[in-house]
Point group: C2
Chain length 257, copies 2
């Protein structure tokens, strides 16, 4: 993969329970960090309802726009789990009962002594030709069709599936990040930061205000780039800017992009 190419991914979070506020999503942040560790940039995420037309439309729009698409949610055994059939429709593929998935589930349910009924067997349905993504937690697999990975919504299961599929991902350069903070307000840093942004062009300079007890406010500056030397040089300039404004820069350990 060329050094210049940015490999971009999108996440589609499927679930009425996220949109109603009942459940707090926990998959976006984990996916973002894991993808970055293999040089893939999470570039957009959407939260949509358990709605067939919406799922199909969103999958088709995003698989055309991004290198990888991940979906979470809607792959359980109940009537509201419609992700697999919607992804099949998005690709114009028949939804089949995947023999490999059935075999995995039969072995699992025999081992645990629970009944593998028709509802649970629905979790073995995939678009024809899909590659399975193993689920070491509860067996019912995720799957991949072309550049679209269909994963569970339960964070523990989603994380295990992601761990299994990660070696398949072909990333570009890993985005590196460094951060420095001080008790200087954003508004006092702004002019100097703007000059640094002009100087460093492609460097991503993020400015994040924080408040602490006792009416102390300050700013964390997060720098992102794939070039460690450029990052270090810019970091020292940001720290010097903070010092020039009367701040005491504190460097933060950031290894996660």
């Amino acid at each position: 993969m060329s050094e210049e190419k940015t490999v971009r991914a999108a996440l589609i979070i499927i679930g009425n329970e996220i949109l109603s506020g009942r459940t707090q999503d926990a998959n976006l942040q984990h996916l973002a960090k894991e993808l970055n560790s293999v040089g893939v940039r999470l570039s957009e995420a959407r939260v949509i309802a358990d709605d067939e037309a919406m799922i199909i439309g969103t999958v088709n729009e995003m698989r055309a726009a991004y290198d990888y698409v991940f979906t979470t949610g809607g792959i359980g055994p109940t009537h509201d789990d419609i992700t697999a059939e919607c992804v099949a429709k998005a690709f114009g593929l028949p939804l089949i009962r995947n023999a490999e998935a059935v075999a995995l589930m039969k072995a699992h349910y025999e081992r645990t002594g629970r009944e593998l009924n028709e509802a649970r067997l629905r979790m073995a349905n995939t678009p024809e030709g899909a590659a399975l993504v193993k689920n070491p937690i509860s067996t019912a697999p995720g799957f991949r069709v072309e550049n679209v990975y269909v994963l569970a919504g339960v964070p523990m299961v989603m994380q295990a599936m992601l761990e299994n599929l990660k070696p398949e991902l072909i990333g570009g350069k890993t985005m590196l990040s460094r951060a420095v903070a001080s008790y200087i307000g954003e508004g006092n840093m702004a002019a100097g930061l703007s000059a640094l942004q002009d100087k460093y062009g492609a460097l991503d300079i993020g400015s994040y205000p924080f408040y602490k007890a006792g009416n102390r406010f300050g700013t964390t500056i997060v720098l992102r780039h794939t070039d460690a030397d450029l990052l270090e040089s810019a970091l020292q300039e940001v720290a010097a800017l903070m010092t020039s404004l009367g701040g005491e820069p504190e460097f933060q350990d950031m290894s996660d992009g």
Copy 2:
């Protein structure tokens, strides 16, 4: 407002720091619950980067598709805060220095003895004709243009802005919800739930598995509808289904939609 009309809203979360995994979004869940309390349904959310073309395109797509659009993030004083100018471009309006916002900020900075410099004055820029959304926390206001509300990303500030604008929102009927749980697996509930879904049509029946220590697994069923009587009747049928499968239904208190 007619009883039949569903008032739908979308949220646009603007910020590289969410997509990189550095920051966990805390605004979606709060917004969802608050909107529901006034009869507005959060129907989609998108997380996008601090990127002009992406912000403009997303704002224009969503303001045409939903009754209300809320954005969070990107309204601070630094170079990476580009939401206000992008929303102005999305509407084809000039970005102006809003005199009312300037007056509010002047009073605030005089009171606190801090410098109201050019960078901070950028936070008084709005599209021409925008209505301000007051910010009792840090003064720099949000604003509204037509059906698009532009809010801060910092949760404490966003929440205060939302509290101020809530009386303006015209909602439909409030979505009510009830939930019941038992230690019956989703796969055992599925057939019965599917029959209930067929019977109750427009009722939203969500099924959510849970795991507890000691290998105990079960399912929470969440029912949503605007009609409290219909909801109660369906809830009793779900509880009866759980009992018939050997479960002991526990009703959960859910007041938040």
